[in-house]
């Protein structure tokens, strides 16, 4: 999302506001430090962690991320504003991303988009009144073999027909996938992580435990 509405005469958050990034979130972000040669490169992973934890990336969150990564808040804002995935204002619990590119449009994608909008009474980048869904369209989602497709949370819905939309949206688990997952973005950070801090690799025994799954595997 590009433009972030702010009023320079009104602080986006009170100066003495308590931090909104919890220690667990900060720890997850620090977990990525040793993977990159610069702190700034941790920005995308950090933004993912924060958006996953808080739902969106507020001005206060951006400021706290900047502090953690030792960069300027405007650098964080610059990056946030460039990518369509990050929300700077609260979004719904689940985000629906509808593909509008050629294979989907050729197979009736526009009708699916209309059906979702009508059914949920949302506009592009809008959120339903009950806060369940936010809606946006995107270019090709690389699911063209299943066109027209709709991404809800992590789950790609394939060959969606407009008449299926109400049922699809009523399904509580429609945003989850069954794939065996590495919980890198969900679990508390691995202690030590990939951490001898030398940029450009130089691994250590702990590096092998870089992801939480390894710990699970070892414990199992």
């Amino acid at each position: 999302m590009a433009w972030i509405p702010l009023d320079r005469n009104k602080p986006a958050f009170p100066k003495d506001a308590p931090p909104i990034l919890t220690e667990a979130v900060r720890e997850k972000i620090r977990f990525f430090f040793s993977r990159y040669a610069t702190r700034r490169a941790v920005l995308l992973p950090a933004l993912h962690v924060v958006q996953d934890a808080l739902g969106h990336v507020s001005m206060q969150a951006m400021t706290e991320i900047a502090e953690l990564l030792e960069i300027h808040p405007s650098e964080v804002m610059d990056t946030v504003s460039f990518y369509t995935h990050f929300w700077t204002h609260p979004k719904g619990k689940k985000v629906i991303v509808a593909c509008r590119s050629i294979s989907c449009e050729a197979l009736g994608g526009q009708k699916v988009i209309d059906a979702v909008k009508q059914h949920l009474h949302v506009r592009e980048h809008g959120t339903t009144a009950d806060g369940t869904y936010s809606f946006m369209t995107e270019e090709c989602l690389a699911g063209c073999d299943h066109a027209p497709c709709l991404l809800i949370g992590e789950r790609m819905h394939k060959q969606v027909k407009p008449e299926d939309v109400p049922k699809l949206l009523a399904d509580a688990g429609n945003d989850r996938i069954a794939a065996p997952r590495s919980d890198l973005f969900d679990a508390p950070a691995a202690k030590g992580g990939a951490s001898n801090g030398r940029p450009g690799g130089g691994s250590s025994a702990e590096t092998v435990g870089a992801t939480s799954d390894i710990r699970e595997m070892r414990e199992a």
Binding site: E105, A106, A142, D145
Partner: protein, 435 residues
Amino acid sequence: MANYEPILLRNRGVEGSRTLGVYELRGGYQAVRKALKMTPEEVVEEVKKANLRGRGGAGFPAGMKWSFLPKDRKTTYLCVNGDESEPPTFSNRVLMEHDPHQLIEGVIIAAYAVQAQVAYIYLRVEFHEPFHVLQRAVDEAYAKGYLGRKVFGSDFNVEVYLHRGAGAYVCGEETGLIESLEGKRGWPRIKPPFPAIEGLFRKPTIVNNVETLCNVPHIIERGAAWFTSVGPSHSTGPKLFCISGPVNKPGCYEWSMDLSVQELIEDPRFGGGMRDGKKVKCVLPGGISMGALCASELHMKMDFEDPRKFGLLGLGTAAAVVLDESIDIRIVLRNLARFYAMESCGQCTQCREGTSWMHKIADRIARGAGRLEDLDLILQTARNMGMMPGLSICGLPDGATYPIETVVKKFRGELEERIRAQPREEVGQTLAVVN
């Protein structure tokens, strides 16, 4: 067409193909063991001899790219391009979802060849399933000692990290990808310096596509001579082809590069013919950025050379979208134009303004308020941008020029007919809305 035994997709559909155990049972992780006994130079040489041309769109020979690295370098990075955002391409997704260890093996061998200490696999954020599947596979490989320190008991160390993008087509461009990895907006860099000289964190960097690297283990295992024996001499090796749109069997298929567009659409082993017996109107055979074919051009071969003879930019991602006679070509034009207008990163004037103007013109035409002059205007705009003539930093606008030019030129008759048929009284009203 002769028969062909799948190589890259050989594990698709095999139970447990995502696990290290099954991959290894089916012969996986042998090539990397072989490679680690060779010198890095020998590995580069073998890939060079195979003439493995990049599968990410530009078709640049991988071995040659690897040999551009400065000899006296200390740190080297490998970036694996899994941004896959070119409509309508999904072959990287299929490779990662079904056979993640094949990619990891390719990454280890390539990292060894170029002596990279760290490899980042850059994935578009919408790839949730591939991300989890691949991360699991990376975890397994670490646990086995195939990644990290002293891989396979050799002296070679390599870390592999997944890095998720955040929604931007331009981050698939190699220097946009590098900027994005560095935590910045994905603005492509001016070249030279090319990434091999100065890339990620200003260090020598190799960027390769997922499919390119999936070929590497097979080259090492079976040899360059085998690789060059597959397909025509200018387009060697196994290749994935995507087909989508109103065909009976949309999907990702593997074959050598002696396949025609017609065969890809009609053959029961691939697209299986048009749905409901409809006729083909238009095909964009290489991802939309390569341009369009009309129904009389379906004999085009899906290789690195033939597309140019049909006015296309190249093979691209070898992902074809087929459009049937029921679609209004104005809708196609608008859809294509919108893509580039939305995805231009905005740092070059000709690209930013040009793609927006083309979208605006195409939108006006699609809404039924086009003017005959608009067709020349959109062609003129399309000619005013691109990296090749030196008007912009990256290749995105070149990829915008080709589809717009080829659609307008090859379907001009239909476009003019539809513009002439617009009800006059509506044109004025619509123009007032869109302009």
